[in-house]
Amino acid sequence: MTGDVLHAIGNIFRPASPPADSIYSLAMLVLAVCLAIFLSVAGVLTYTIIRFRRRPGEADREPPQVYGSNQIEIAWTVIPVLIVVVLSMATARVTSEIQNKKPPEGAVHATVIGHQWWWEIRYPALGIVTANELHVPLSTAAQPRPTFIRLESADVAHSFWVPLLAGKTDAIPNHPNSMWIEPRVEGTFLGNCAEFCGLQHANMLLRVVVQPADAFARWVDSERLTARHDHQGERVFMSLSCINCHAVSGTRAAGTFGPDLSHLMSRQTLGAGLFPNTPENLRRWIREPQAMKPGNLMPNMQLDDRQLDQVHGYLSSLR
């Protein structure tokens, strides 16, 4: 499995994908201009405070009274105007460059749907449904393969943000948005929901797994298969209300409120990026999701130990 390298620190000044790259270049220009303004204004201010402080013995003398000067006012109006013109033009160019990019041949198309408090991820052209971890191919100079993402929401406003790859774009109900990424570094990139979306907004985490083309193709192939399992727990799972919210391909479990579980074991995390997907965490999640992520929309199912073993065994076999 690739994606071994974990890019946990989302420093926007260490971009790993073109939209974040061009934002970085623009940011450096803006920062340079702002720094120059700060140094000159703060410099004059500091000089003024020191030079024109009241000294002992001057207490009763008023300084010369100066009321203003139109020439000076005009001079210091022109400079900011020029700065605004330069920054506006640079910004307009980068805005258009990022927003108006057309998908090239060979681009991957994914749909990401925000839910309270997890991400549904679909690849309509590939027939894949998964959750919380967006897999995309690595882009190289020889073989550029951007991923174009359509953003939707099933309930309230969310926002898709993986700082190393691109700026954020909101997922708003009945207002589909689009964005794109073209990662040139392998590994797993962490992100968050960035628009307040209710109780567990803090734990609506996000991962983008960037794999070389062949590994991505293998992942696609395995995700497209009907869910395989080898556990007698299936009968118990299907008899419980799990299937009202969750889907497992090739079975009568076709719920759409919760994450699709068809290939649960191929995922790194549980609870929208909150816990590593280990057998212990999975078992505890099935038993008491409300203790692990208070307020999430999966109720504690009140399973007895035998049911818990069966469901856990079944889910652990979904590869």
Partner: protein
């Protein structure tokens, strides 16, 4: 110092002091000074409450995986903190300052509509109490939670019944609706007062900058608040009558709410900030011993900030998916605000240049304001560059930016104003030593907290999260930010102690302790109910300068 001609001592009233009598006097008063003080006192009480909420949040966030505060409580805390600071601290504070100072500065005996003034204050206070009553009453019949928890800008459809059950959101809507009515009535009053109550010789050109800026602010309130009130009513209709303005699945629009909110919300930032400018424009000249440099340019810049601020609202919405053309429009309009704002900073600077700067506490706060507001303006330019904003918006960078504006900018000037005008309102000086402790602790605490939080944002930390995992590079920053809050808390304690102590034991102030130039210093401290025994006559923008320097009056040059 020369004594000023038109002051006569107030005649003592004979009635003996009683508690009920005093309470009754304050309750039924229509005196602009008492209402102003009540506005400011209420704002300070809400400030302490909302500040304590911020401290609680910083305690939770000091370490990763904090468990001090559960998510539901945390979400209520930041909603109440933001709503309180904007509607129950900033707005009433500016209304209080305008109420207290505008009539005194223009030589009037009261506001144009004293009863409307009292109405505005009491409806504001009722709205504020209603918001906090939600902690008790918001539970509703079904136990759906107490105080509002949807954030201070309350994006739909999170506020619709499907996602916000119970009555907490209704408390939020109704209390802001009420405080909005208070703000609008006080704005009408300020406009009427400045336009019709100025004393002999006080032309608009000679009106103090403070009054000019309050006039601009009041005009902005009249334009910006009604869209918010309308949107609040639409949201109530959605929640109770099934109107579905903001319900996407029924043909409404979630984005529409954002437009309505920010059409109010951005001018609101300047509505809060211009009173800060107003105070700085009075205090900096007096402590530099020079008149305001470029008065006309300052007035022009304020008016143009007012105009431009009406056309920049969607820079809060760069990430909602507008077209690149629309984004560019709001990039340009937002950057344009930088020009008049720059002019203002340059003019303050030029006022100090060549002066004899006296570092009393009000001036210290103003100097820190200049540095901090400069930074706030520059981070504002960064946020105005739409693609940069896609990284920065809704992150801790934005949190740091607007706290730089509202705390580093506005709050510092408000403290300057308190130290400057407290002697006028009470007849006693605030203590300078405690004032300097207050100032330096606040500076250190403020920078510990908010300088560092910019970097949390550039490291990918989103705002409004009740907890965060370890390992994302946010631990040290959050710890330092939380330590800064302790220092800021100590600063506020110094301030509260200073006020309490000085009310009883402060040094007597006299009428004109700062050797200042505007009319409020020409009457006694505190001023009598009728403000001036004889209504003064004004020949320049610094009437008291003229009186003190008959050999070199301003009116020769203006």
């Amino acid at each position: 110092m020369a004594t000023v001609g038109y002051i006569e001592p107030e005649r003592e009233r004979a009635a003996p002091w009683t508690l009920t009598g005093t309470l009754h006097d304050w309750l039924v008063t229509v005196d602009h000074k008492r209402l102003g003080l009540m506005y400011i006192a209420s704002a300070l009480i809400f400030f302490v409450i909302a500040g304590a909420m911020a401290a609680a949040m910083r305690a939770q966030l000091a370490f990763p995986n904090g468990t001090l505060i559960p998510p539901a409580v945390f979400n209520r805390l930041f909603t109440m903190h933001g709503t309180s600071m904007v509607f129950l601290v900033g707005m009433p504070f500016l209304a209080g300052l305008a109420n207290y100072l505008v009539p005194l500065m223009i030589g009037a005996r009261d506001m144009a509509f004293p009863r409307l003034n009292a109405f505005g204050f009491w409806i504001f206070l009722f709205g504020g109490v209603l918001l906090y009553f939600s902690y008790i009453g918001g539970e509703g019949l079904a136990g759906h939670g107490t105080a509002p928890d949807v954030g201070w800008f309350a994006y739909s459809p999170l506020t619709e019944h499907a996602f916000s059950r119970g009555t907490s959101t209704d408390y939020w809507i109704l209390s802001i609706l009420l405080t909005g009515i208070g703000s609008i009535s006080s704005a009408i009053n300020v406009i009427a007062t400045t336009l019709s109550m100025r004393c002999e010789g006080m032309t608009l050109e000679r009106m103090p900058l403070f009054v000019w800026l309050m006039l601009v602010v009041s005009g902005m309130i009249l334009i910006a608040l009604p869209p918010l009130s309308a949107a609040q009513i639409m949201l109530l209709l959605d929640r109770y009558l099934g109107a579905r303005f903001f319900v996407p699945e029924a043909g409404g629009s979630a984005v529409l709410w954002q437009h309505f909110f920010w059409i109010f919300g951005h001018p609101e930032v300047y509505i809060l900030m211009l009173p800060g400018f107003a105070c700085a424009s009075e205090i900096i000249p007096v402590f530099s011993r020079k008149p305001m440099f470029g008065r006309a340019a300052m007035i022009g810049a304020s008016v143009s900030i007012g105009f431009i601020s009406m056309g920049v609202w969607a820079h809060h919405m760069f990430s909602v998916g507008m077209t690149s053309g629309a984004n560019t429009f709001f990039v340009v309009s937002t950057m344009l605000v930088g020009i008049p704002t720059g002019i203002k900073i340059f003019n303050w600077l030029a006022t100090m240049y060549g002066g004899r700067i006296r570092f009393a506490t009000p001036m210290l706060f103003c100097i820190a304001f200049l540095f901090q507001f400069l930074v706030a303006g520059l981070t504002g330019i960064m946020l105005a560059a739409a693609p940069f904003d896609w990284q920065l918006t809704d992150s801790y960078f934005v949190v740091a930016h607007f706290h730089y504006v509202l705390l580093g900018g506005l709050l510092f000037t408000l403290f300057a104003a308190i130290y400057y005008w407290f002697p006028k309102a009470t007849g006693r000086m605030l203590d300078e030593t405690l004032g300097k402790w207050h100032f330096w602790l606040l500076v250190v605490g403020f920078h510990l907290t908010f300088d560092t939080l910019h970097f949390a944002g550039t490291l990918g930390m989103p705002r409004r999260i009740y907890t965060y995992p370890a390992g994302r590079g946010w631990e040290e920053i959050n710890l330092i930010a939380s330590i800064g809050v302790i220092v800021q808390g100590a600063a506020v304690l110094c301030f509260v102690w200073n006020v309490v102590r000085s009310l009883g034991h402060g040094e007597p102030a006299g009428d004109d302790p700062w050797d200042a130039w505007t009319l409020e210093w020409a009457t006694s401290s505190p001023p009598p109910e009728y403000n001036f025994v004889t209504v003064p006559e004004v020949r320049s923008s610094r009437p008291l300068w003229d009186l003190k320097h008959p050999d070199d009056p301003d009116w020769k040059y203006e």
